[in-house]
């Protein structure tokens, strides 16, 4: 397989004819794709086997990660995975209409989420339960979206964690605007600068809005980290349906840095995200991060991935599990004992139990909610509809029909 470098021949005659990428069967089995070559392009600090790889460039960004801090990252990942699995189970039991699993993407999300400061702003897509966790949002506050009671019950202003966006990619422009605002307000330009991070998937990179987000952020020097979780799949479509090239290279055309990190490596993701955020705080943004990871579960609970992908691929990725490598590393260095792992497990079970109970007890939202908050300054038309419908509804509930 030619190196990705060769597919980018910006000058004539500099490489082989550029044509769309198609993965070899070997690549697919190895959990790789034509647009997904690993190798030196991928920043990795912790191998799947839990070995710490020195990296002079990025080590400084995780110099403060003591064993205690690594244990905290481990705990984060275990807890968000547990909450995710509980969400999945709740859907299976009919308690949720749908669930969007993050399984396999814990390191990408915790690495990114823990790199953020309280003063930073986050624009998620719809799978970022792990990032939400890092923003101090109770998993319960996410449930309503999937149960169908609300669109998320956290305070997006207080938590600086925007509502989930379901239309693919359009939050990227909103994030660019927010980051422009940070700059216009003079909140950029030093260690204490603010930054914004926006999350989107590999599939989203095809959307016009994501491109326009790149253009705007570049032109306005916006302190914005584009965090693309390349989980290899957009529902049933592999990354080569979206691009010839590794996605982080998209940044090349806009004149800001693009970098690929092992998204199953929480340490590397933390380091790269901190670096990117620092660039933004200091006014050197935007930055594109491609976190190379894998969607271990279905797209959502309504999806059936056996229709479109080989189990080989999944098996290959299981060996790169984001949690396991941290566990091995902690054990190998004697940085965590069985008590620790047991206590995290117990905490996870408690979290799940709590979530489950909360879910079962979630009340039916009041009918009037349909009409609430359509406008900040109520519309007489909607208010009249509200009154009319509530009268009808009460009447009806009273058995008058």
């Amino acid at each position: 397989m030619s190196s990705p470098e060769q597919w980018t021949h910006p000058e004539p005659r500099e490489g082989p004819a550029a044509t769309a990428a198609a993965p070899t069967p070997e690549q697919v089995i190895a959990g790789l794709r034509a647009t997904s070559e690993g190798g030196p392009e991928l920043v990795q600090l912790l191998t799947p086997e839990g070995e710490r790889v020195p990296n002079p460039e990025f080590d400084p960004f995780v110099a403060d990660i003591t064993p205690a801090a690594l244990r905290a990252l481990y705990r984060d990942m275990v807890l968000v995975r547990r909450a995710d699995r509980e969400g999945n189970a709740l859907q299976r039991q009919g308690q949720l209409g749908i669930w969007v699993p993050l399984l396999g993407q814990e390191a990408a999300q915790i690495g990114a989420g823990r790199a953020l400061r309280d003063t930073d702003m986050v624009f998620p897509s719809y799978r970022e339960h792990g990032v939400a966790w890092c923003r101090g949002i109770d998993p319960k506050d996410v449930l309503g979206i999937f149960r169908g009671t609300d669109h998320g019950s956290w305070d997006s202003v207080a938590k600086r964690f925007h509502p989930y966006t379901i239309v693919i990619g359009n939050q990227v422009l909103n994030a660019a605007g927010y980051a422009m605002g940070q700059r216009f307000e003079g909140k950029v330009g030093g260690d204490d600068g603010e930054a914004t991070m926006v999350f989107f998937g590999d599939g989203a990179t095809s959307q016009g809005d994501v491109h326009e987000g790149f253009v705007w952020a570049a032109v306005y020097d916006a302190p914005l980290v584009f965090f693309c979780q390349n989980n290899q799949w957009a529902i049933s479509e592999p990354t080569e349906r979206q691009s010839r090239l590794p996605l982080y290279q998209r940044a090349r055309g806009y004149g800001f840095p693009g970098i690929r990190v092992d998204g199953n490596d929480v340490l590397a993701t933390l380091a790269v995200a901190r670096w990117a955020l620092a660039e933004c705080r200091h006014g050197n943004g935007p930055v594109l991060i491609e976190a190379f990871t894998y969607r271990m579960d279905a797209h959502t609970t309504t999806d059936d991935p056996t229709r479109y992908r080989h189990s080989d691929e999944l098996e290959a990725w299981k060996l790169k599990d984001p949690i396991e490598r941290v566990r091995v590393n902690l054990v190998r260095h004697g940085d965590a004992d069985q008590d620790f792992f047991d206590s995290v497990q117990a905490e996870a079970d408690e979290l799940a139990r709590d979530l489950r109970e909360f879910c079962f007890a979630m009340p039916q939202p009041p009918v009037g909610q349909i009409f609430d908050h359509v406008y900040a300054e109520p519309s007489p038309f909607v208010s009249a509809q509200r009154a009319e419908f509530l009268a009808y509804h009460d009447d009806f509930a009273g058995g008058d029909h």
């Binding site: 749908i98 149960r147 239309v167 095809s206 349909i370 359509v374 909607v382």
Partner: protein, 336 residues
Amino acid sequence: MAPETNPGPVQSLTLGKALNLGLRTAMERDPKVIVMGEDVGRLGGVFRITDGLQKDFGEHRVLDTPLAESGIIGTAVGLAVRGFRPVCEIQFDGFIFPGFDQIVSQVAKLHARTHGRVRVPLVIRVPFGGGIGAVEHHSESPESYFAHTAGLKVVSCSNAVDAYWMIQQAIQSDDPVLFFEPKRYYHSGFMKSEVDTSATPDPLFAARVVRRGSTATLVAYGPSVKVALDAATAAEEDGHSLEVIDLRALSPLDLDPVFESVRRTGHLIVVSEAPSESSLTSEIAARVQQECFYSLQAPVLRVTGFDTPYPPAKLEEHFLPDLDRVLDAVDRSLAW
């Protein structure tokens, strides 16, 4: 999947399977017909409406496209100019908006812009409407935006037989057609019908009286047809004989059967899941009050979704017009 043995002309099909068979038939008949959209190939679409087509017709006739709706529609326009007849799937109603400019500025206008020299025979399939317990943007009824756009034709099927024929007719049409499919009934057992593939179908742009009646007229389309029919059945007990008309064509509207009906009944209720403001239901009311001014014994009433964003799933039963809200409107109309 291609059926193993050649089935007879009459098959018992769900609405979804009827669409699938209609697409297959159109693709067999004309090699220029291609299907494109997100996940329509290997997966067969998130609703499986294109199931088996890529396997049987190949990757160049069933395209798993990049994830961008403007791209899907914009390249379909170019393919149409080249002589293809693209059938685009928009995964859910709420995701048609990134492609809106291509629809309004290119799809709708290219034929007029070229003084008829360039035809744009493309079909944009949109699974639409609510009632599936989904998250935001998955239950919208955006048909009025397109009915308001000159240069487009807009239709909606409400049952398996129509689904089978209308999708083929839409593909054969030399005009661009927005094709709205009531997604909540794709796989409903009670929408299963005997589809006679050797029958002669009704024209594409014709409304149809689906139940005769004399007390009042109900007009509906897509998923609301079933609501209207159920209401008519229930009303029978109260001694009301309701006529139900399935519009089928949303633009151009075929209102003659509606006018004819209203002249007999004097009462009209229009049912739709879409918000009411500046909508297709407004148009029907506006046209009927003009054409049937002296026949109406009460104003045209509308039973629609509210003028609010589509609510979270647990509230959608209240948002969606149901049998009771329709009957309430009938009562109000008769008591006017």
